[in-house]
């Protein structure tokens, strides 16, 4: 059973490439969302195992979305992604209820699998 993934990013091209990449590397991408509100709704509806969550979103940022997801019943495992390095987000990264962070350049099926166990 391949783990199911929800991809949240405001760039269409990134969602498409990430979907193709993860599909090719052992994940089942069950949906995507372009903003924070869409992400919370899609997660409730699709109940994915993993949410790949971009930090910079047009409405609320990834940290807020992660807290909302964590507050729901049976929360998914969340991996934050960004085109920046983790250190740029300072202390907020340390306290976020997520299981890991991936810079977009490091994204691969194996790297994601290593974080979500």
């Amino acid at each position: 059973m391949r783990p199911t993934v929800l991809i949240v990013d405001d760039h269409d091209s990134f969602r498409e490439s990430a979907r193709a990449l993860l599909e090719a590397e052992g994940f089942a991408v069950v949906g995507d969302a372009a903003d924070g509100a869409g992400a919370v709704a899609a997660a409730a509806r699709l109940r994915p195992d993993v949410v790949l969550l971009d930090i910079q979103l047009p409405d609320v940022d990834g940290f807020v979305v992660a807290r909302r997801l964590a507050a729901g019943p049976d929360p998914p495992r969340v991996v934050l992604i960004s085109s920046r390095e983790a250190v740029a987000y300072g202390p907020r990264m340390d306290t976020a209820p997520v299981c890991g962070f991936l810079a977009k350049r490091e994204l691969s099926g194996a790297a994601l699998a290593a974080l979500v166990g």
Binding site: F14, E16, S17, E23, A24, S83, A88, Y89, K104, S108
Partner: protein, 524 residues
């Protein structure tokens, strides 16, 4: 003396003594003034009035023509007196109105009714005072001070003559005549003494300027102008200093000084040393009419100018350097703009094409393995395009030139990983100032993201008529190094535009970076 004897005989000292004294006072004071101030004709005129004073006394001589002359010359002395008081202290008639008044004064002395009539005397006195007052009001500078003396003398003389005339009109009879004559004689003596004293003190300007020579040894260049303006009585005086390298005159602040043409109504006096121009005085033509005064001012200016010229030269150089720094900055910004343009239209555009091609390839790929590998390449490409876009924006933000500072900062905030409060009014600023403000924010945000461990950042921009104030505040660790390379570069940029950059960053208190950028950067 002979004349007095002819008129009164020795038996009447009450009659001849005051008369004799008055004539001698005028002659004596006049000759003394003439001897001490040969450049002025006032002494001569006073002496002439004194001699004329005695002419009527020959009326009893019994010699035909002399008696006739004496009979008509009772007021002869008033001719030179009118000329004297009007033209005092130089004694030279200038202008048509003054000339006509002097002629009228002489004419009234020999032609009846003239000074002989009481009404005529009052009218002439009023006329004299009016002319002197007008000349005084219209004069400037040193000329004005001379005219003031002339006005004072004229008023004294005219008031005396008019008072005598009015008294004689009001109280006819020989008793009144004796008293008024005596009063008139006293007034003439006082006038003669006063005019001589004035002549001996004259010219006051040179004395005042000579004092200046002592003072100016240590004064600053701006003060030289003020001191000279005060000494010459010309508040509009401008002082320029000659810069040999650029072959022009500059003022104390180092700004080029335009030398007025002939038609401007201003005069320019060049102060030279060893045949080289040293300074220039631009002044009211009236204030340096006297060649002696010009020489005194020139020596004062020579002394002060050596010091002042050095300062003006330094300021001119500084202004030049500031202008050249602004030119360099503008050229660098322009160059960055061209680079950004080339990146955008060249590399970025082609990478966009490549991304399109990869997407088509992935969509038509047969196996998931191939699609995944193409997707990995696409992600790398996306990342590269983002990097390149950031680089281009850092070089020269297109938003800034196309949509202004507020829009460019908003775009910057979108790309910033932390929470960023923006308070930026959508106001017009000059491109140079806007670019400066933008780069300050960029550098400050980069520093915050790298070092500060902050959770909130605030950018506020206040636009004033004189320029803008940019403030970037964070709640991070503080302890930023104001001498670090990034901040040093920002300081240079801000100072080039004549502004200031301050950094307050105590450890544990966050960092506040404040830039004040004036929007009057002057010509490039």
């Amino acid at each position: 003396m002979a004349a007095e004897w002819r008129l009164y005989g020795w038996a009447d000292p009450g009659g001849w003594a005051p008369d004799l004294l008055t004539g001698w006072a005028m002659i004596g004071c006049g000759l003394a003034g003439w001897a001490r101030r040969p450049g002025s004709r006032s002494g001569g005129l006073l002496a002439a009035a004194g001699f004329a004073w005695f002419v009527p006394d020959f009326g009893a001589a019994g010699v035909g023509p002399l008696s006739w002359l004496a009979a008509h010359a009772l007021y002869l002395h008033r001719g030179p007196l009118v000329q004297l008081v009007l033209t005092y202290p130089q004694g030279r008639v200038r202008g048509r109105v003054e000339g006509a008044t002097v002629v009228a004064g002489y004419a009234a002395a020999v032609v009846a009714p003239g000074w002989g009539s009481q009404a005529g005397t009052v009218a002439l006195a009023a006329c004299l005072v009016t002319v002197a007052a007008i000349r005084y009001v219209r004069a400037a500078g040193a000329e004005r001070r001379m005219r003031r003396s002339a006005l004072q003398a004229t008023v004294l003389f005219a008031a005396g003559a008019a008072a005598v005339a009015l008294l004689r009109f009001a109280v006819p009879g020989p008793a009144a005549e004796t008293v008024t004559l005596l009063a008139y004689e006293v007034m003439l003596c006082a006038l003669a003494a006063g005019l001589l004293a004035g002549l001996l003190r004259w010219p006051w300007d040179r004395a005042e300027v000579a004092d200046l020579v002592v003072e100016l040894g240590e004064t600053r260049s701006g003060a030289l102008r003020d001191e000279l303006a005060r000494a010459l009585g010309d508040p509009s005086l401008q002082v320029g200093y000659w810069l040999p390298e650029s072959a022009m005159f500059v003022d104390a602040a180092g700004r080029p000084l335009a030398v007025p043409g002939l038609a401007s109504g201003r005069s320019a006096t060049v102060v030279e040393r060893d045949g080289q121009p040293l300074a220039i005085l631009i002044h009211d033509p009236a204030v340096l009419g006297d060649p002696g005064l010009v020489e005194a001012v020139a020596s004062a200016a020579r002394l002060g100018a050596a010091n002042a010229r050095l300062q003006a030269e330094v300021r001119a150089r500084l202004a030049e350097i500031a202008a050249s720094r602004r030119r360099i900055l503008a050229a660098a910004d322009e160059e960055r703009g061209r680079l950004e343009h080339r990146l955008r239209d060249g590399a970025q555009w082609r990478l966009g094409e490549l991304a399109q091609a990869l997407r088509l390839a992935r969509e038509s790929a047969t196996g998931p393995g191939t699609a995944g590998r193409i997707a990995r390449a696409e992600l790398q490409l996306t990342r590269t395009r983002e990097d390149l876009g950031r680089l281009a924006r850092g070089l020269h933000p297109r938003q800034l030139s196309e949509r202004g500072l507020a829009a460019a900062l908003a775009a910057l905030a979108q790309d910033f990983p932390l929470h960023l409060d923006l308070a930026v009014p959508a106001a017009e600023t000059s491109p140079t100032v806007a670019a400066c403000a933008y780069f300050i924010c960029c550098e400050a945000l980069a520093n915050v993201a790298k070092h500060a461990s902050a959770s909130r950042v605030q950018i506020s921009v206040a636009t004033k008529a004189s320029g803008i104030i940019v403030e970037v505040t964070d709640d991070g660790a503080g302890g930023a190094d104001p001498e670090g390379r990034g901040i040093r570069g920002l300081s240079d940029r801000v100072e080039t535009l004549g502004g200031t950059l301050t950094v307050a960053s105590a450890p544990g208190q966050g960092t506040r970076l404040t830039a004040v950028i004036p929007d009057s950067t002057g010509p490039l």
